[in-house]
């Protein structure tokens, strides 16, 4: 008990998340022992890839403070996948598909950054607006129909499995998290992000280029959403205009659950990674128990509210 009390910040978050994760797994095993085999693990990691990429961008934007939030991530995932596929139909060489997908996402994110930085709009209003624009355009352009035409070699990457681990998870999600964690811990940019999240005014006074960092983070969040769109294409083999549905809620929950403070400046990406695995395990488990998918959004939402309230309560206890 004393060791648990001595744990602080990220270590405490990770310990609690692991405990929660074990509870979920034990609970599922008790309800349905056949749930967990290698196939389920692969499925969980496959689902995790998309949420991990989006959650990483969301987490970084929130970490930088200034009431930062990116509600448009789900729309950016859908729209970048759709735009990439449609430009393929307009004669783009298939080799460029991954680049176009990620670049489109980066541009959608940069638009958010421009609205938040250049026009000084409140992040939640600006990205709420772009969320409806992005997801709406993705739906309206396709008429809601899934788009085909994903090249075969992309499917090989997207559906490949090495030792039970999906290739996109291995080659995209893990490197992205490792790079982000390294950048946050060991580079000046990473420390700047914490500094401006903790106290923006003093960050400006010591000469940190707050606006530039924030713009880049929004663009990065968009680029990661584009990468998530690419994973969805490579895995599902088609571009679904509603693939990003509910991702804004799930990525927020992952970031909050992962120990990132909603006010910024506190938390790390390791927690987000653990939170993504926990969330997807929970969702997959519920799916295996034949519980209707509409319950997922409610459970994720309840989890978000619970985490936020628990964070406030624990702060009150400490002070």
């Amino acid at each position: 008990m004393r060791t648990l009390r001595n744990l602080q910040g990220p270590a405490l978050t990770l310990a609690l998340l692991c405990a929660l994760w074990l509870i979920v797994i034990v609970g599922l095993l008790a309800l349905k022992p056949s749930v967990f085999n290698l196939g389920t693990v692969t499925t969980i990691l496959q689902f995790s890839t998309i949420l991990a990429l989006v959650g990483l961008g969301q987490g970084m934007v929130i970490l930088a403070g200034g009431t930062g939030i990116d509600l448009s991530v789900g729309g950016a995932v859908s729209l970048s996948a759709i735009i990439a596929l449609l430009s393929l139909k307009l004669g783009l060489p298939p080799v460029l598909l991954p680049a176009v997908c990620i670049l489109t996402g980066a541009m959608l994110g940069a638009l958010n950054g421009l609205l938040v930085n250049g026009l000084a709009l409140l992040p939640f209003i600006a990205t709420l607006g772009t969320f409806f624009v992005y997801s709406g355009v993705a739906l309206a352009v396709t008429g809601g129909a899934a788009q085909s035409g994903v090249p075969g070699w992309l499917l090989v990457w997207g559906r490949g499995v090495v030792a039970g681990i999906p290739v996109p998870f291995l080659t995209l999600a893990i490197p992205c998290f490792a790079l982000a964690g390294l950048a946050l811990m060991a580079t000046a940019w990473g420390r700047w992000i914490y500094a401006m999240g903790f106290n923006e005014r003093s960050a400006r006074l010591v000469g940190i280029p707050v606006d530039r960092v924030r713009f880049i983070l929004y663009a990065l969040s968009g680029a990661l959403a584009g990468a998530a769109g690419l994973v969805s294409l490579a895995w599902l083999g088609s571009g679904r205009p509603n693939i990003g549905q509910n991702l804004e809620l799930e990525s927020l929950t992952a970031a909050m659950l992962g120990g990132i403070a909603i006010t910024g400046g506190r938390g790390g990406v390791g927690g987000v990674f653990a939170a993504v695995l926990l969330l997807v395990t929970l969702k997959t488990g519920l799916l295996q128990l034949n519980i209707n998918t509409v319950w997922q959004v409610g459970i994720v939402g309840a989890l978000l509210v619970f985490v936020l309230l628990a964070d406030r309560l624990s702060q009150r206890w400490r002070s």
Partner: protein, 328 residues
């Protein structure tokens, strides 16, 4: 300062923003009348007004929330839950008068839940209500069991489709709601406190304003107005669909922002919201009639929000720099 000046104006006195909204409405009507032969008919005008009823009521509450620096993205689904409660009472052949009370009551209860999370839990409104949105959506699905609640008796409609002294009941209810909210905002300490919190919650707290009480009350007021909106919804359509209210929150936020209420706080226009709702509904209806698929509607609404705010940001900046350059 601005709050004090605004409190001197009358119920329907209009500022520049509201005049330009009115002009925009008339302009849109003129353009659509030329573009589509089905537009300028009495039936269509009634449709547009009919479709505005719920959004007008929800918009009044959203105006208060945004002026206070809050927001509620779950408000559309709150309307859905209230509508389900009303529908269940009507479906069980309950008295329409019980049904009339049920809407505002459920709205107030859910407003209390939202306020408990956001105000008492001190959670940012956007994140807290987004979480509740997920919970409420699942609740709607669970309560409806994936089916529409349909074929409800017309007893509520018989009650609300009548006229009193030649004025339709919905118009009367909206006018009364508008008047009450206007009086609360401009003639009571509550209104001043609300605008002060919108300007700076910290300063409001330090100057002794009961911040928690005012914020809690505002979420409940918004819930009650949404419950009334749900009553009109059920009375008119006599069914509750699973996707009820999915765009209401966005539409309401767009209408409030169009109306000139500042989300940075301290500036608030109820008449602007009313005109914003009408403009939004005129645009949505007109675009549909000239053949734009309804899938584009959220895109148009989102572009309106960003466009209006972006235009405000740019135009606020220009005079300021000119003013600063001018010699004293």
């Amino acid at each position: 300062m601005s709050a004090v000046r605004q409190s001197g104006s009358g119920v329907f006195s209009m500022n520049g923003r509201e005049w330009s909204l009115l002009v925009a409405c008339l302009l849109a009507i003129a353009i659509f009348s030329v573009a589509s032969p089905h537009y300028a008919t009495q039936g269509n005008a009634v449709t547009v007004l009919r479709n505005s009823i719920e959004l007008l009521l929800i918009g009044l509450g959203m105006t208060l929330l945004l002026a206070m620096g809050g927001v509620d993205v779950s408000i559309g689904i709150v309307m859905g839950l209230a509508a389900i409660a009303i529908g269940r009472i009507l479906g069980a052949d309950g008295s329409p008068f019980v049904a009339l009370v049920a809407g505002p009551l459920v709205g107030a209860l859910l407003g209390c839940v939202t306020a408990a999370v956001v105000v008492l839990g001190r959670v940012p409104a956007i994140v807290g209500t987004l979480g509740l949105l997920g919970v409420y959506r699942t609740a709607v699905f669970a309560l409806l069991g994936g089916q529409w609640l349909s074929g409800l008796p017309s007893s509520l409609n018989d009650l609300l489709a009548t006229t009193v002294l030649g004025i339709p009941v919905p118009a009367l209810v909206i006018a009364v709601a508008y008047l009450i909210v206007w009086l609360a905002l401009r003639r009571t300490p509550y209104g001043l406190h609300l605008l002060a919190i919108g300007n700076s919650e910290e300063k409001a707290r330090l100057s002794g304003i009961p911040v928690i009480k005012v914020r809690f009350l505002t979420f409940v007021i918004s819930g009650v107005l949404t419950g009334i909106a749900a009553t009109f919804y059920v009375a008119t359509y006599r069914n509750v669909e699973t996707s009820i209210g999915s765009t209401s929150a966005l539409d309401a936020i767009a209408a409030v922002i169009l109306g000139g209420t500042s989300i940075l706080g301290g500036r608030c226009s109820l008449l602007g919201t009313v005109l914003g709702v009408l403009l939004l509904r005129i645009l949505q209806n007109g675009l549909l009639l000239i053949g734009v698929p309804s899938l584009w509607q959220p895109v148009v609404t989102g572009v309106l929000i960003i466009g209006v705010l972006g235009f405000e940001a740019v135009s606020n900046r220009l005079p300021l720099t000119r003013f600063q350059r001018a010699p004293a």
